[in-house]
């Protein structure tokens, strides 16, 4: 099969001007979130709990860990982790090698586990999960607490030079798929990442056997109706190959 040998998700742990891409896909590498800006190089056993807020809120600080006690904040630059900003537009990216051939446009979403089971979207009142949504995330529908945005072309055709038009909000989402306009464009609003219910489809099929990247941003929200649980959520590049 002309599948890819290596794929990665990468996060920028330094700055827009001098990005340094941390591999988020290696063994024991993790993305972690916190409401504390001081969690670089903190082991998971002593990772501080975050009190579920009385009102919906973004989980401001995102970290890229490459070992249990080795990790930096996104855009942390070796110091305190800055709060999420859509204007940190070299935030993250999907990376693939020059071995495979895409048969269609790749898709960015999130699933409850690596089993990729269908996600039952929350309806009505009451608490529910990170990806299922809850009344906290209700807009026209209950959307995922995890939001994503994506760039309208591969990085080799031109990396982002600015962030999306709008910052993410907890009620962002569109049922089904959305795509940024092809070219130098983000989605104007962030999309709910909810398995096969809500997701982002690239407006391009990347060139065959060419190493490239697809720039993304993502942000996690929480709120009073998010059920406390051990979430084993995965962020996923769903893709086809020949």
């Amino acid at each position: 099969m002309a599948d890819f040998t290596t794929m990665r998700m990468e996060g920028n742990i330094v700055s827009t001007g001098a990005p340094s891409w941390s591999d988020l896909s290696g063994a024991n590498h993790e993305i972690r979130w916190s409401d504390s800006a001081a969690q670089r190089n903190i082991a998971s056993a002593v990772w501080p709990a975050m009190i579920r807020p009385a009102a919906t809120a973004i989980v401001s600080y995102t970290y890229a860990f490459t070992a249990d006690a080795t990790g930096e904040g996104f855009y942390g630059n070796g110091g305190a982790c800055p709060a999420f900003s859509k204007d940190n537009y070299l935030w993250g990216r999907w990376w693939w090698d020059n071995v495979g051939t895409f048969a269609a446009a790749p898709i960015y979403s999130a699933y409850l586990t690596t089993g990729h089971a269908a996600i039952v979207r929350h309806v009505g009142a009451g608490a529910d999960g990170m990806l299922q949504g809850s009344p906290d995330t209700l807009n026209v529908s209950c959307f995922s607490y995890l939001k994503g945005n994506a760039w309208g072309r591969v990085t080799s055709a031109g990396a982002p030079g600015a962030g999306p038009a709008n910052a993410p909000v907890v009620t962002d989402g569109t049922v089904g798929t959305v795509s940024p306009a092809a070219g130098a464009n983000w989605l104007a609003n962030f999309q709910s990442l909810m398995g096969d219910n809500d997701y982002i489809t690239a407006p391009f099929t990347p060139a065959a056997t060419v190493q490239d990247q697809w720039n993304i941003e993502f942000a996690l929200f929480t709120g009073p109706n998010m059920t406390p649980a051990l979430y084993q959520v995965v962020q996923t590049l769903k893709y086809t190959w020949t």
Binding site: M1, A2, D3, T5, M7, R8, M9, L24, S25, G26, A27, N28, H29, E30, I31, F65, W94, V99, T101, F102, A103, A104, A105, I107, Y111, T114, H116, T177, D196, Y199, T201, T205, A208, L230, Y231, Q232, V233, V234, Q235, T236, L237, K238, Y239, T240, W241, T242
Partner: protein
């Protein structure tokens, strides 16, 4: 297009599906014939087979040979009507970390009309079963694949 018992056993033990094409002159080309390695047999994953380099002229049938011994076959007159792809996932785990790749299905199809309607067979790696369904190459509903890249498939619609 018969499959000899030794090859059938190899396919079963490879735990994956393989495509096999037939041409109007009677020639048969199997996916394992196109592998980059030296051993051209249906063994293991068999990486680096390139569908885009497979001749499409005069192809009149495409078959999916499945690890459970079943086969799904599609036929069409000559004219670059066949396509083939795999769909899968690259997951980045939030707990215990790391990346994980998996395949969901191996799909073959034949385009039936100018509107892009197609008949497909697919080996589902989730259910270990051979599926048959109708779809459209301009917006594949199966696994939400969306529009196929016609250049990669060298489809003539």
């Amino acid at each position: 297009m018969g499959v000899n018992p030794v090859i059938a056993t190899m396919i079963q033990q490879s735990h994956r599906s393989w495509w096999q094409a037939r041409y109007s002159d009677g020639r048969v080309l199997s996916e394992w014939d196109t592998l980059a390695g030296k051993v051209l047999l249906p063994l293991g994953e068999g990486r680096s087979s390139r569908w885009e380099e497979v001749p499409k002229e005069h192809m009149v049938a495409l078959r999916l040979l499945c690890p459970n011994g079943m086969a799904g076959e599609l036929e069409a007159p000559e004219g670059k009507k066949f396509f083939q792809l795999k769909v899968g996932y690259f997951d980045v785990l939030m707990v215990k970390g790391g990346g994980k790749r998996s395949i969901a299905a191996h799909v073959i199809g034949v385009v039936k009309d100018a509107e892009g309607n197609c008949l497909c067979r697919a080996w589902s790696y989730r259910t270990n079963s051979l599926l048959e369904f109708e779809d459209n190459i301009y917006n594949m509903k199966f696994k939400n694949i969306g529009k196929l890249n016609l250049d990669v498939q060298q489809l003539k619609v």
